[in-house]
Structures are given as C-alpha cells and as structure tokens.
C-alpha cells in the first residue's frame, strides 16, 4: 500500500492543486498531514484535491482533511474535493462533512 501526492501551485488563482493517489488510512495519514501542512507553510491558498485516483479513505484521512480545513478557514480559504469515488463520497455524506467541504464531480 502506498500513497502518492503530487502538488502544483497555481499563482494566478492562488490555489494549490493536489493529486492524491492511493489509500489514506492510519498508516499513510501522517505523511498526508505533513505534506499538506508543509504546503500551507509555504503558501496559504485554497486547496483543490483531485481524488480520481484516491481509492480508500477512513476516519484517519478525514481527520487530516478536517485539520487542514480548520487551518484554511482561519484565513477564509477552503478545500474543494474533486471527483471522489462513490465509496469516498459516501463517507463525506454519512459524516455530514459534505456540508463543510465543497465536493465537486460526484
């Protein structure tokens, strides 16, 4: 199991484009947390997380995203979750997190 994160900062729109491939669980969540926090240290900007190749997430991954969102909200920034697979959007819905994250392309 692995996780692969590719990031790209779009200066014109002041937005981070993040492609996450793989699985976010208790084993990989820390790496995701570190990588995303490092990006915010470098540049505070909205996040667009492309989930097309994210195959699995659970509460540990959702917890990481909530932590990042809290940091962003203080600066009136947000996270867009783009193209989540059905198993992933289901978790956002049952936890009600679909109301605090912007979800596109379901």
């Amino acid at each position: 199991m692995s996780i692969h994160i590719q990031t790209n900062y779009n200066k014109d729109e002041n937005i981070w484009i993040v492609d996450i491939k793989g699985e976010i669980d208790i084993y990989t969540a820390n790496k995701v947390k570190e990588d995303l926090n490092k990006m915010l240290d470098e540049q505070m900007a909205d996040f667009k997380i492309n989930c097309l190749e994210l195959t699995y997430i659970d509460s540990t991954g959702l917890g990481v995203l909530i932590g990042i969102l809290k940091r962003l909200k203080k600066e009136e920034k947000n996270i867009n979750i783009v193209n989540p697979k059905p198993n992933i959007s289901k978790l956002f819905h049952i936890t009600g997190l679909d109301k605090i994250f912007v979800i596109e392309g379901e």
Binding site: M1, Y27, D58, S59, L69, N87, K90, L97
Partner: protein, 137 residues
C-alpha cells in the same frame, strides 16, 4: 453453524491494509456487492485503528479479529486488551466544531447493520459488527 475464521494482528498501522484485504476477500467470497464490501473494509479498518490507537497498552501485543460466516450474514469481532474507554464518550459529529478524531465509531455504526461495543476501562474493548447479505437495511 457457520464458519469461523480468526486472525491475530500486530498492533501496528502497516497491518491494517492486510486486514482490509482479508475482510474484502471473505466478503467477496460470500457474495456481498461492491458497495457492501467497501462498507465492510472501512468498518473493520476503523475498528483496527481504534485498537491500535487506544487499545493496546503494550506495542508488542496483538489484537484479535474473528470472522463468523454464515449464509445470511458476516459477523466481525475485533477485540483488544487495552485501555478501554467509556462508551458515553462516543459522540455524533459536531459540524459547527469539527474535530480531527472521534469519527471512527460513528462511521462503523453507519456502515454496518448491527454494532455492539463493549469496553471496560483497564480491560479492553470489543467491537462486534454484523453485515447482512442481501439489500441494505
């Protein structure tokens, strides 16, 4: 009488995906559909995460998982001999004030058909969950 399949799992994060694959293989063999298999994978991973994060007093200890398979349902029991917690501490997600932790048990209860949690402080935790074959309840 159904079949009984049990494993003893090291209390380490890197084994949670092995448990997910095991559960997925058993559920697939039983004839659950893709959505149900995903539900089972997340639920069992949440129970393992709980055992690893809160359950185990000693990192060298393993925790136990039992799968009880019969014609109509899959029952999964995840048991650790760790700290235990007060079942009153389990809360619904508060969206006004979202927290990084505490969603696991709520997710298990949402995804599985029947869930029983027994936790005794100092003695450990057992999470018993059932998914029925056929259409979602």
């Amino acid at each position: 009488m159904g079949d009984h399949f049990s494993i003893s799992v090291p209390s380490k994060p890197e084994y949670v995906n092995v448990v997910r694959l095991t559960a997925s293989a058993i559920a697939c063999r039983m004839g659950f559909n893709i959505e149900q298999i995903e539900d089972i994978k997340v639920a069992i991973a949440e129970a393992c995460t709980n055992a690893i994060k809160h359950g185990i007093k000693n990192r060298e200890e393993n925790f136990k998982i039992q799968f009880l398979v019969d014609e109509e349902k899959l029952e999964i029991d995840v048991e650790d001999e760790g700290h235990g917690f007060s079942c009153n501490e389990i809360e619904e997600p508060d969206l006004e004030n979202p927290k990084e932790g505490g969603l696991g048990i709520f997710i298990i209860k949402s995804l599985m058909d029947d869930v029983q949690i027994n936790s005794n402080i100092g003695k450990g935790t057992s999470i018993k969950m059932i998914k029925y074959l056929g259409d979602d309840l």
